[in-house]
């Protein structure tokens, strides 16, 4: 999404005759069917995430006490998807069936979309910020700084990180008080438990991206124009921010897209194992809630999983497509 906006920018300046870097990339991207398909999926996910609450058939569950029976009426509990249910006259009533506590799985999936986007974007922003800082320092200054940072990254890579993520998430979600935090100035409510999960996921995932960015930094640092810049007397900070980082932009965009996919998968796993935020119904959370009743309400396990699969697949396709479009060197 973010990259899409950037690619459209050059169109606003028709003065320039030759196509800019982004326009060329956009044209190359359009030719890649898989990538465009990924972009469509991603755009659909964003659409549902932003506007989902307007067209979801049933309202979201109340903010707290998600486990309290909300819709529970005997007539509403454990209904299979309506289009499979011969006793149900209205084939559109429960598209994905209902859960043992009587919530509509289709509505839960739609309301959960915004959390998925929240997880994907915020984890990626923090991860990329961390890994750009670490990668830039290691790649630019080299020597013992590089050595120290990269050994640390290696430890994080060999680390069985999921194990630590689980323990950390458990400890911090136990100690958190209220289910929602309010960001002071803009007055936006964010789910506290989910935000803790996000922060911890980001903390344990920077290592591989940092290594990639360091590698790119090493490559660009040796190019001639950097030498020229240095001869002109530019400071290190100026070289890093004005000259090296813009060169890494395409790699950063590609890696970010793939990191979003990975973050969504990881959050689903953490929630599924029962360590998620019980007050926010993410897709993983729906799977966890109905796991013990899987034998009867199999639909509550299948459809949220398809949602995860499609979303992650979309981001992966988009990432691959962007990679082909932005780094044509790899293709040849």
């Amino acid at each position: 999404m973010a990259s899409n906006k950037k690619e459209e920018k050059p169109k606003e300046k028709p003065k320039r005759r030759s196509a800019g870097q982004w326009a060329v990339a956009w044209r190359r991207f359009q030719r890649n069917k898989a990538g465009v398909f990924g972009l469509i999926i991603v755009m659909a996910v964003f659409f549902v995430g932003i506007f989902g609450s307007f067209f979801a058939p049933y309202p979201a569950r109340p903010d707290t006490g998600a486990y309290a029976p909300f819709y529970e009426k005997p007539s509403q509990v454990r209904k299979p998807p309506s289009w499979l249910d011969p006793e149900q006259p209205n084939k559109w009533k429960y598209l994905f069936g209902t859960t043992p506590i009587g919530t509509d799985v289709f509505s839960d999936v739609i309301h959960g979309t915004k959390y998925t986007i929240y997880v994907g974007l915020v984890v990626t922003i923090i991860t990329m910020a961390l890994s750009i800082v670490v990668g830039a320092i290691a790649g630019f200054y080299g020597r013992w700084v590089d050595n120290l940072l990269m050994r640390t990254a290696e430890v994080f890579l060999v680390f069985p990180s999921l194990l630590f993520i689980l323990v950390f998430v458990r400890i911090f979600t136990l100690t958190v008080g209220e289910p929602f935090w309010t960001i002071p100035i803009v007055n936006v409510q964010i789910p506290a438990g989910l935000t803790i999960v996000i922060l911890i996921l980001a903390l344990f995932n920077w290592a591989s991206n940092a290594r990639m960015i360091r590698g790119e930094f090493l490559r660009v640092r040796e190019l001639e124009f950097i030498e020229a810049e240095r001869a002109l007397g530019a400071s290190n900070i100026r070289i890093i921010f004005r000259h090296i980082l813009p060169n890494l932009l395409s790699s950063v965009i590609v890696v970010s897209t793939l990191t979003i996919a990975y973050a969504i998968l990881l959050e689903a796993a953490v929630s599924f194992l029962g360590f998620g935020d019980v007050n926010t119904i993410t897709w993983g959370q729906i799977l966890q809630e109905n796991f013990s009743e899987m034998r009867t309400v199999w639909w509550a396990e299948i459809f949220p999983g398809i949602a995860i699969l499609l979303t992650v697949f979309g981001f992966n396709l988009l990432g691959d497509g962007l990679s082909d479009a932005l780094n044509p060197r790899l293709r040849e």
Partner: protein, 309 residues
């Protein structure tokens, strides 16, 4: 090896320590607990001593394979871990070997015929595989093969009455099929993508052209000359990802209720049973490091240019 082991042990000890005072967490769980009980527990677990001394005590105990006692039930951790370790190792070893045995020929074939129908199918399916949540594949398999068809057991590693002709070995096999399928599928996708990418690069190199020009059979060119170089990065990747693969065990083991380390880890982490959590973490770390050592040694056989010093 040893510095990395010490590094990880220090990090995991202080990570657990920084995570908070275990007694405080007990206090959150049981608000009625008295201060005297807290103090007694603190002395009992040695938490009143300075941190470096606690670390050294823990480490020396660890090296003597003494992981302490579980906070729940008080049974010694190494006594508990022994049987779980075997179940996890069995599952992981079978899956890793199977994943390699399947992914190498598929990866090679799709590199040989790049952009053919088979190649496009394999690459898109493997991208699909990377996108699929591990545990969800397990759920689907259980729903289809256990609940709908009733062919395979949905949970556990052994049946109380043996399944499949009352035979203990066939029974074990019946329980292994679905977890192994899930683990293999996850690894397969990654492996195929890597082998394919490496083979593509190598098949274009000059020495392959030379080998072909000197009239070697295609089979010999691929399996003797190209594969050796293509497999290197895959094995390196295996080393790096092994920690992740083994640490990913909780998901598969949780879904299939497999009585292994991962399943127990989820329980222990849920109850914040620190001795068990740290014991399992260290065992998985040691397993990862040993596997990396084996990989380093295997390298010498695969790539004769590397010499062990």
């Amino acid at each position: 090896m040893i510095p990395v082991f010490l590094g990880i042990s220090i990090i995991s000890f202080f990570v657990m320590y920084a995570a908070g005072d275990p007694l405080n967490i007990i206090r959150i769980g049981r608000p009625t607990i008295t201060q005297e009980t807290i103090d007694a527990l603190r002395r009992y677990y040695g938490l009143d001593k300075p941190i470096p001394i606690q670390y050294l005590t823990w480490l020396t105990n660890l090296l003597q394979l003494n992981f302490g006692k579980s906070l729940y039930g008080g049974r010694p951790v190494n006594f508990l871990i022994g049987s779980w370790l075997w179940e996890t190792a069995k599952l992981q070893l079978i899956s890793i070997l199977l994943a390699f045995a399947i992914s190498i020929p598929i990866g090679i074939n799709s590199a040989k015929k790049q952009y053919s129908k088979q190649d496009v199918a394999v690459t898109s399916i493997s991208l699909f595989g990377v996108s699929m949540p591990t545990f969800w594949l397990g759920l689907i398999l259980i729903i289809i093969f256990s609940f709908q068809l009733g062919w395979l057991p949905s949970a556990g590693a052994h049946g109380a009455p043996y399944l499949w002709f009352n035979d203990p070995i066939l029974d074990e096999l019946a329980h292994l099929i679905m977890p192994v399928t899930v683990l293999v599928y996850v690894m397969l996708a990654q492996n195929i993508r890597l082998i394919r990418a490496n083979m593509l690069e190598i098949l274009r190199s000059d020495y392959i052209l030379a080998a072909r020009a000197s009239g070697l059979s295609e089979r010999k060119v691929i399996y003797k000359y190209a594969l050796r170089n293509a497999i290197g990065p895959v094995i390196t990747y295996l080393g790096i990802s092994l920690g992740m693969i083994i640490a990913g065990a909780p998901m598969t083991e949780y879904v299939f209720n497999w009585p292994g380390l991962g399943r127990r880890y989820v329980d222990a982490a849920m109850r914040l049973d620190f001795p068990v959590v740290m014991g399992i973490t260290m065992i998985i770390t040691v397993m990862t490091l040993i596997a990396n050592l084996i990989i380093d040694i295997a390298y010498v056989y695969i790539d004769p240019r590397i010499r062990l010093r």
